[in-house]
Symmetry: D2
Subunit: 340 residues, 4 copies
């Protein structure tokens, strides 16, 4: 940290996401971006132009040898592991874009290494820092919606078809990280099933459905689709007391909380008695802070306060485990795959 208590940070990767990290960490006031490192120096220079204090470089070793506190890694997924490992070994705190790593084994090694070195390892699950998701977490964890019954997410659009992963790997990390963040700690998926089709012949599913199973009668499902003519970002989260509809396409009224549901009488053991509640709906005001700004601040605070961040390596690893299991289920014609 500098003498104002600000984290000294290097950003690795000046591609799509790196500039956002540079901008938000700089604006946070809690960090100083000292280096921007990319194999393409011209690209790094362009991104760093408005920030005269940022040094651009292609030499990661030199960066890690400098007295910085932390690195933020925004490079292709396959490089997450070697870069993060190197940084941790150099004693730096690490923020990694999602997903944490390319394999569960890699993810486990990173988590173990960070623990052994007493360093912060955080995964940039950006959605967990949006006002909408934080409100959902609050509603779920405070018990306001009662017991969770189901979670259903539709995340479809005419997407950039990727040539090396399936659509779940591309889109479902969002939902998996949201679920991990929103659901109570004692409600974790125990198995997954995935159905999908390689509709355009890339060798990977471009339309897929991921189901998460739990030890309790709860179900979660994600519909991920690169071939939808319309963009849908709608999540239903049903509880015994209240139900939430989150439409992320809405510019401001993203979350609706319905006082609707079903009451089950239990007087008569031989028959279920169901009654319906049709109460009012509330659209709360959400925290307006930009998610990425909040995420950047959380990374800095977790370092300075010596604590785990909200979306730490363990969370990243849980997401990775579900993704890996989904791949195995797809390969096994949709069969259920247990999570450890």
């Amino acid at each position: 940290m500098d003498n104002q208590g600000r984290i000294q940070l290097a950003v690795i990767g000046a591609g799509y996401w790196g500039p956002n990290l540079v901008r938000n960490f700089t604006a946070s006031g809690a960090a100083v971006v000292t280096h921007l490192c990319d194999l393409d120096l011209a690209r790094a220079n362009k991104v760093a132009a408005p920030y005269p204090a940022i040094q651009t470089t292609t030499d990661l070793d030199a960066v890690l040898a400098s007295p910085i506190d932390a690195v933020a890694i925004a490079t292709p997924v396959r490089t997450h592991f070697p870069l993060a490992k190197k940084a941790l070994l150099a004693g730096k705190h690490v923020l990694v874009e999602k997903p944490l790593a390319w394999s569960v084994a890699e993810g486990e090694e990173l988590v173990a290494l960070a623990a052994a070195k007493g360093l912060v390892l955080m995964c940039d699950h950006t959605f967990c820092y949006t006002g909408a998701v934080r409100k959902m977490r609050e509603l779920v964890r405070s018990g306001e919606i009662g017991e969770v019954l189901y979670f259903d997410s539709v995340r479809v659009n005419l997407g950039l078809i990727q040539s090396d992963v399936n659509v779940l790997w591309d889109l479902a990390p969002h939902d998996l990280s949201i679920l991990d963040y929103v659901l109570p700690d004692d409600l974790r998926p125990i198995a997954v099933s995935a159905q999908g089709v390689d509709a355009v012949g890339t060798g990977f599913a471009s339309v897929a459905y991921l189901t998460l199973h739990f030890a309790r009668p709860v179900i979660a499902n994600v519909h991920a689709n690169w071939l939808s003519p319309v963009k849908v970002r709608t999540t239903l989260l049903g509880g015994t007391k209240k139900m939430i509809v989150w439409d992320d396409n809405e510019p401001s009224e993203k979350i609706r909380i319905y006082d609707k549901g079903i009451d089950i009488g239990d007087e008569d053991p031989n028959r279920v008695r169901v009654s319906y509640r049709h109460g009012a709906c509330n659209i709360p005001v959400l925290e307006p802070t930009e998610a990425l700004a909040r995420m950047a601040r959380e990374f800095c605070l977790s370092i300075s306060e010596g604590r785990a961040p909200e979306t730490d390596g363990h969370a990243g690893l849980r997401v990775l485990r579900a993704l890996a299991a989904a791949n195995r289920s797809l390969e096994a014609a949709g069969a259920r795959v247990e999570l450890d």
Copy 2:
């Protein structure tokens, strides 16, 4: 038929759906409703009040002994088979509410019996007679949307939880019959997987996902849910040339046809080249006729013209087979179940 060529028809069942049948067959001009038969005579009398010519009765045998041409059965599902069988044996053409029967064996027997007797057996897949579904069939079967890639239907609302069937049995027949009607004859599901949860303790799944698999790289999925705070009725149907969004909640602009999609280049065998089309969207005018009126007319015409109706017993049986397979998949923790 009477001397004006109108079908003489008895309606069996004066509950929820029966009155609609009475009204639509009467209004069709192609049939005369001669009897309304129900075990509860008072109920039958109430329904028949505006139609002085309709005889009400509790005596089905007498009805079947009369010189009517056909019966329309709108009774609880478990009674479909005995009633339809009796009517066929009595030489009457039969219309049955969906689903065709309680078991595949029953359905097969009805189909075989109708064939043997040379009688029309039709299943009331009402949605297949809506302007929206007919437009989709036309778009698919004419080749206008190209090859079908996927079909996704969300059919959720705060529903009447039923105590003797799961939510798929209640809601998915709509989607299964629509799929059966819309897809080309050479594109039939070959297997199903179903995931679900008994969220409210009725002993049956109240939230479920049904996936249909095909011999070609096509996928179909239905999300059926009795516990959603909002009513959603949205279907996506993607083709290689065009894509359709059907929102049945829209009062008039139900169908949108997007000239959007993905073009796949095949020059280079080692890599997939994808390009995107972002063309215009068209909202067609749909046939305004009420679906039930069209369905009633089709039943009458198929009898008078001596041909199979659009949603015949075979269609009803295909829907039933998929439902039965879904139940087996639910019982087998979501494992894939082949259809024959």
Copy 3:
């Protein structure tokens, strides 16, 4: 009344609206429809078929000579006055479809006559009996939304162009009656301005804007349009504390109450200090009863309780005065026309 205290009622007019009155008064249990009177007896017979107890006739004099309590008039507007006058003179309570009469003078005569005879004169302002409008009245009159600032209604669609009235006469009575019902008694319009155009050459405006002015700084506006490709039914009602959006096209979530607004500081007399409130939004559950059923009950209750109904002749007359003033404004190139 009969010996069960039910109002004996004759319905005059078996056209578009009459059958709805027959059905709702019958279902209300508070009235018995004894006669259905129409110059076209065949039409009356068809409407009355399901109600064996209703006598159909073309002879209004005979109806009025019978010991009925009340008549409900659902005939063309130009006949409202002579029919209602005749019925009042015969000592019958009268319900009239909106608008009350063809001219203000006629309306005034009916109101005076009913008062002189001690009879109920009610105008069927159906919207005032919907859950949405009743909720708005409650929110306004309880002071929950604070002081009313403005009311804006858009009522447009591809409508049935009428050949003898302008679009305001056709559509604005809804908004005028709603305003009359919702606003506090001490907030009545004092003047109107109307702008319009005869876009299709019928001799009457088919697109028009009606502005209502008040003694306080409040404004109300209605956009009435027969030439819109889409149906819009949206009303904004702004108050100092809360603001309401009513979208009548929404199947269930018709009313939204926003805790949004502007707070005006008054410390400094030389400058206005404005701050914004961006609070939550609430979507209340509305009373589900059908509006027409509630209207029918109110007519019966006002008779049996000897009190003025909610939408009495005075309310009908106020609507009529605004309509007549709107016509004068249209003829005067949109000039402001005072009421009274």
Copy 4:
């Protein structure tokens, strides 16, 4: 121009809009921003930071004395006239933010001066450079929608209440410039009426309605409102052949073209015969270029090609005349005010 044919441009004003002009002119490739001039040098320096080639200054005279070709003025409205006049007198082409000037007299002087000096005077009517408005212009001017019948715009939200102008002055310039751009040259408003209310006591109307009258049976209306809890940006444009709905809140499907309307028979001079068309709806793909980029390019091109730009001083002056007339109408209780 520089040796690459690029316009040498100074931007005056580094407040809200200036940075957008700097960014877009720079990105256009058709201009080089040489100076950024603001009385607050620190603000100018901050805006210019990412552009090392831009000179910041508070000295407008020095800027105008330099060999630049043009200035873009993004300062408070009251300063438009003196700044633009000075620049024109110095022989510079001028782009001014809307509205052109504070008074019609000022606007006329600028237009005359530019003409006398042979310089480009352009008003930044940004909306005229959006894909949506350009599509509407094309549909109207090609005759595809037939004769224009009406134009209706709702532009409401919880806005920044301004203390020195009314809501029409703030919001209606958008609609007036759009109308000016979209309507055929032979269809110009000849008079205006404006109704409004000073609902929050600022001394100026915060809710207002502006009606434009034409020599033909056409009407245009703008609802401008700073006190709406929801943001609405919806325009209806009705023609004899087709009708357009433009919803600017829609992220991509902004324009819908309805093949709906009314056909008027003229066989019988004594009665209007109306029939309805309910054809399909088309949602076209719109040009994706950012409006401001297109505007910047048009300014540069008009200079280098020696021609009038699309939204020239005359267009700015027409908008200004309508605004000034609206103010006079508001002061005269909504009376119609002729436009010259």
